[in-house]
Symmetry: D2
Subunit: 334 residues, 4 copies
């Protein structure tokens, strides 16, 4: 049994990690560190977890082999380097180490990338070998996961004739993606029976997506516009990906390409029929459906995942499984 601790355990991603790690057969959950909630019992904040531990203030003592960090963006920058120096296995769920280019980091996160630590980008479906060898993982963003997985075969698959000219994506996210929040605009009274777009064309997952697809947000090799929205749901990300190819492609060939690309990915389901959020909530799956293709090379691809699982805590555990040589799905058959 490996010992694991979570830094930033009291938010929604931290709570979901707690739930997964409490029931994971190969690790023992040791310390749950929190900041403003330190001193409270887990079972007071999240009674459904039935966990009698108490959130601890973070004292820097290194008691475990493995550390998950589920902190607000910007805060992991200071916590990761000492853990790496001590040889710990680290999985960071924030955006702090996702972008290689510090210029893009600063532009999209409005903050200097103050650490030079380099973490492996933990999207196993694209970079499984790197993840297996890694000591430290930067866990992908929720929107980024739903978009990258939806188009990756077009960029990284075996069909070299396919070239993407433009992608427009519109993603609907559950409100838990904004974290355990007390903002008026995220109150039930404001968000019930509502839909609201935000950060159109400037969301911080944009450079992460471009980087994973082999290009960059600053000098992109194809047009890309991303419109995130929140709707009247707690969990889930549902992405509509409008892809314009340079030249038309046979739809059966596209489908075969996707099936081939994900043939060894236990958590991606390429589906023949429409997917919806309810198909994936409380699971670690990302569903992908090629919903439409036209004679002039347009595709509509629909993806669905649970933002707290495949979009955060579930993917983090999947990465841990690969790093430590467990079965990829261990503790994730929910």
């Amino acid at each position: 049994m490996h010992s694991v601790s979570i830094i930033g355990a009291s938010g929604y991603s931290g709570a979901e990690l707690t739930r997964l790690l409490l029931h994971h057969p190969r690790v023992e959950l040791q310390v749950l560190y929190a900041f403003s909630q330190a001193g409270k019992r887990v079972s007071d904040l999240y009674p459904s977890l039935s966990c009698e531990k108490t959130y601890q203030p973070y004292d820097g003592e290194q008691v475990s082999d493995i550390y998950f960090l589920a902190l607000p963006h910007g805060e992991a920058l200071q916590f990761v380097p000492p853990l790496l120096a001590a040889g710990k296995t680290v999985i960071d769920l924030s955006g702090d180490f996702r972008l290689k280019n510090p210029v893009e980091h600063e532009q999209f996160y409005k903050q200097a990338k103050s650490s030079e630590a380099v973490l492996t980008y933990g999207l196993a479906e694209l970079f499984r070998e790197e993840v297996i060898k890694a000591k430290a993982i930067s866990n992908p963003g929720c929107y980024a996961t739903s978009i990258i997985l939806g188009v990756a075969p077009l960029f990284l698959g075996t069909e070299s004739s396919i070239k993407v000219r433009a992608i427009n994506c519109t993603s609907t996210s559950g409100i838990s993606g904004a974290g355990r929040s007390s903002k008026t605009e995220l109150s039930f009274s404001e968000m019930s029976e509502n839909v609201r777009a935000y950060k159109v064309g400037c969301h911080q997952h944009t450079p992460e997506i471009m980087q994973a697809l082999g290009t960059s947000a600053i000098s992109p090799s194809f047009d890309f516009i991303f419109t995130p929205m929140i709707g009247s749901l707690v969990r889930g990300i549902y992405s509509i990906l409008n892809v314009q190819l340079e030249s038309p492609a046979d739809s059966e060939k596209i489908k075969a390409l996707y099936n081939d690309f994900y043939k060894n990915a236990p958590f991606v389901r390429v589906r023949d029929t429409m997917t919806e959020v309810k198909h994936v909530t409380h699971t670690n799956y990302c569903d992908i459906h090629i919903a439409h293709s036209t004679a002039n090379g347009s595709l509509v691809i629909v993806t669905a995942l649970d933002n707290l699982l495949k979009g955060a805590a579930g993917q983090a555990v999947q990465n841990m499984n690969l790093m430590l040589g467990f079965g990829e799905t261990t503790g994730l058959s929910l």
Copy 2:
């Protein structure tokens, strides 16, 4: 045209008042006073109102004939007396002037009743004549309205043989009842797909209900327990009233009693079939259905109303209509 202003116009009740008064054919809405939101445009906070006014800081100048106060509990105590002194027509939506007994006020509102001003309790269905004559109204609470209207005929109706021994009420409220809030526990992520009871047996509407029924919370003439809950809805109050009579009563007689009691009340509908929240949202109706009666004198009465209308702003306008001699339903046929 009478001139009206609202003090505390930027909360949910204030916004609903704004909507009603903007379209009321007999008054002109003049100034919208707000505190933390002063300086913002109404259309920025509530775009659906399409109102180009700007919230003003309250300077004490008295520009209108009629003032509605939609302030948090405790804050109206200081604003009402100068308005009364100046001879203004006042309708206060807070709990500050509802209780005659300062001891009950202090016990339930955790605050001294610092003003000796006496306002008329504005539940027109019980006290229409007093309302018509009043210069200043204390507008009833939302839960209180739904409960008092549901049992009043048993206390104040023409059937003197009926005596109530005990009432248990369980009411589900929409979350807008908590106001325009930034509390974590009222966020969409916490309240979607949820139900939560609170202040069981100690809610501040308890003494208001007892007072309206001719008794008091401190030495009540019957047993009374009230359990408020919030559910996954924005608007509405749905009350289940379990009434135990001293001796059995014929159910047809009870129904006749209710029909008679409310025969001149345009906003109370005594219904033969089950009511539900959706029947009354966006209306000023309070629906009442006598759902069950037993041979040993138990009754189950179900009531439904919209907490922001009949439970707040709608009832306030209904009171203004009566005070100023307009038709009772003017501006309220939504």
Copy 3:
């Protein structure tokens, strides 16, 4: 007072029409015709309307001057011609008379366009003069309204240098758009906390949109793909319109173009800040916000409306107002 009747009054659009016409100051609502619900009281199906009329079976007798038809697609084809022959004013809310090209009608509605009656397309913001002169109106579709209004200035505005190359739209609709339904997939248990796309690239509003923009679905002058979705909300349509221009356009110029195009449209609000569904529910507004524009000629335009009002019954009343010479907003200041 003009006499109006509704054929197909018991569905959601019919109920919303009933509500609007009951309170409209210039017309008197006469007969509410229904089919499966004939014989039931309006107040039994829609208690919030507080209407004591009874749904009547349709006998073909022509008792009113004005007829609204709110029937399922395909059923208006037979009811409209006799009304036109009798010189009645007709407003049809179905899709039966929206498409001029019978080939497109047959392809998208899977049904022959069996009537040769020609109705005026009732999108007043584009075709106000035609609507004013019309005796018979085909009322636009809900998605179509939200999409056409969002891009019309680019096609029909005063800026001739602007050419559209492609539009991808993703629209989220409230579930009431599917009508008063008993389908399992529209049950609360299936649709709470869910999002689901459908009819991707083949929705029947596609040719209606193309026709209004001066082209056709069969041989379009620009690429167009439409992805409709339903989410966890009852009312509202929220459209994200990704527009690719042939060449870049100055974003201030675009905004000026929109403001100019809609300067006389009382129900279109071109907004400087993000709109959301809650800004327009229970109103007849269509909000438009130009959310993003890029140096290479991409635009993201966001629109919001209430599918039962501006997307159906409200727009139908707006059309009636214009046809009969009432003020355009009469009875619609909700």
Copy 4:
């Protein structure tokens, strides 16, 4: 590994059973029988289960050791006897075998109890020894579980001085309790932002509750009225239990009584603070909180559970665990 099959596997309880049994470490899920859905794949109806089995028509062949029946009320009466005759272990989730008194059965289920088979009432917290010895279990109703567990210590606990005079309960249920349904009144458009009571005073769980508490609905030893409601949520039952004792009881003594009564019950949590639905959804817990007690012997007890788990499939698996000698919580640490 024991072989289990489910008869009536395609409804919501059946799906939840499928999920639990697929991941249960001691049994192997063999055949999923369904009726109208026979021939469809599980993954088509419930993609989140990721189960490649196909629903089979029921042919009466007995292939497993253990049978769960998740059929509509009335249908298990015919399926259970042959299984018992063949010596199978049977757990029936319907109401068909819950009531011992056929007169009560007929009155509340509107149907003769056509089978004389006697099944053990599977509420382990009250009847653990009987469950352990049983070959056939009648699994309790969802409302019944939430109400019985909330008051059982007052009837069956060690404190003989406590006598109950009356109970009024008001329970809010998630809509999944009505099954996988296509009724208009359960559609999203009708039930979003709504609350609706039904079957007030006559719900079929009434005699089940009375029987478990040692009395009967026909000649009860205390007054009992039950008001069920559905709200805007999919899962969960939240019960407010107003209990009137014959004579006052010390509140600390009551709490000690509850803690003692449930000290060996792994799925009952007697909580010091208010519980809410979100605390128990997706778990097999029943939370109980004594929210209020008065000097004259009134109690308000609040309980919460997940209607599909502790109220149906979870409790059924708990019963199986006890019958087969597994740990009581096996496969239920969700």
